[in-house]
């Protein structure tokens, strides 16, 4: 299973009613092209170590809405303690999918520590995540993801993926920056929720 395969499974299992927090790097163009709907449903963060925490805050803010964190092994490893907070809070509407290729691939494929045997699913299970599983192919990812999205507990899925980055033509690459993404994401949440999040102050 390559990252593009895992992303395809996630996109097919979710809808435009769901919200996503993703890492940047090699994942971003894959997800931007395959995500459900041409809508601004994804906050892509340039902050390794804060993807799951941000998804947690979003899930706690919107307990009626499904939130999916599109994580990477490099990001999870940068702030490993965050999984303990996830396990204690265990919001039922949050699913974390860690795409674990054992590499910092987009900066030249230096190995991450998962390539030396660190087991993120076992760590999550040890932290107390009741639904922490490792998956190695599209079928098992689809099965576990469907169970998590329909379930009543936090889901923590570690998808072991092979190296390999998709090459997207220039017109299909994501060209927005982190500030534009923030505004677009907030406006989309406002549209979904039917209420104002940012703004409302007088202009004069």
């Amino acid at each position: 299973m390559k990252r593009i395969d895992a992303v395809t499974v996630i996109a097919e299992a979710t809808t435009t009613e769901d919200l996503f927090v993703s890492s940047v790097g090699g994942l971003i163009d894959d997800w931007w092209n395959l995500r459900p709907g041409p809508v601004d449903n994804t906050m892509s963060l340039s902050i390794l170590g804060s993807i799951s925490s941000t998804a947690l805050g979003l899930a706690l803010a919107l307990p009626h809405r499904r939130v999916v964190a599109l994580e990477t092994d490099g990001s999870v490893l940068m702030n490993l303690g965050a999984v303990t907070t996830l396990a204690v809070q265990r919001p039922r509407n949050l699913t974390v999918v860690v795409m674990d290729n054992g590499l910092y691939e987009c900066i030249g494929s230096a190995p991450t520590l998962t390539s030396a045997g660190v087991d993120l699913a076992a760590i999550a299970a040890g932290a107390g995540c009741a639904h922490a599983v490792a998956v190695h192919d599209e079928l098992s990812l689809a099965k576990e993801l469907a169970a998590s999205l329909a379930g009543d507990d936090l889901g923590y899925l570690v998808a072991r993926i092979e190296p390999g980055m998709e090459s997207w033509p220039e017109e299909k690459r994501r060209h927005t920056d982190g500030i534009e993404d923030k505004y677009r994401f907030v406006r989309y949440v406002e549209q979904l929720e039917g209420r104002r999040i940012h703004g409302g102050a007088p202009h004069v």
Partner: protein
């Protein structure tokens, strides 16, 4: 129930005012790594059914939790010792400079004038220059009567500027303060 709340029946005035200020500012989520200067604040929040308390074990988790909550339209606050600014510095910098997500943070002023612990002085020495480097507006709050209006203003300022703000609690507004 927070373990710090065990055996603590009386909530000091500063802590009660803090919680009242959170209510007035419509804050319903607080993320924190507890410390000693604001001990009763954590107890009071934990006892308050209208506010959810998320305890972390590293301050670097807090910016993400508060930012995610903001993006979902729920008002959240992060509370930590001022040394936590250093631990959380990288995500704070990125949420502000790269994404312009407003984060409202309250820190205790470890190392303020009269600090008796040798290890606490570096917290104060670094805090001001660090906040300045991050371009984060800060206000020192040392009077209990200022807690509520400063919390309200902090959220107004952060929301309008789309940038973090920091309140630094000391004096009357800390455990064992004068009030």
């Amino acid at each position: 129930m927070h373990e710090q709340s065990v055996g603590t029946d009386r909530v000091p005035r500063y802590a009660q005012e803090f919680v009242n200020g959170l209510h007035e500012a419509a804050v319903t989520l607080v993320g924190t790594l507890p410390e000693s200067h604001l001990k009763s604040v954590y107890v009071a929040i934990d006892r308050d059914p209208a506010i959810d308390l998320v305890r972390v074990s590293n301050e670097a988790e807090l910016p993400g939790i508060v930012a995610g909550s903001y993006l979902g339209g729920r008002r959240a606050l992060m509370i930590m010792e001022n040394s936590g600014l250093r631990q959380a510095c990288e995500p704070i910098a990125r949420f502000s400079f790269a994404h312009q997500v407003p984060l409202v943070m309250v820190v205790s002023y470890r190392g303020d004038f009269g600090e008796a612990n040798w290890w606490g002085h570096n917290h104060a020495q670094v805090m001001g220059p660090l906040l300045e480097a991050l371009r984060i507006p800060m206000k020192i709050v040392d009077r209990v009567d200022d807690i509520k209006p400063m919390l309200r203003k902090a959220f107004d300022h952060a929301g309008a500027s789309q940038w973090p703000v920091c309140l630094v609690m000391t004096g009357e507004c800390t455990e064992g303060g004068a009030a």
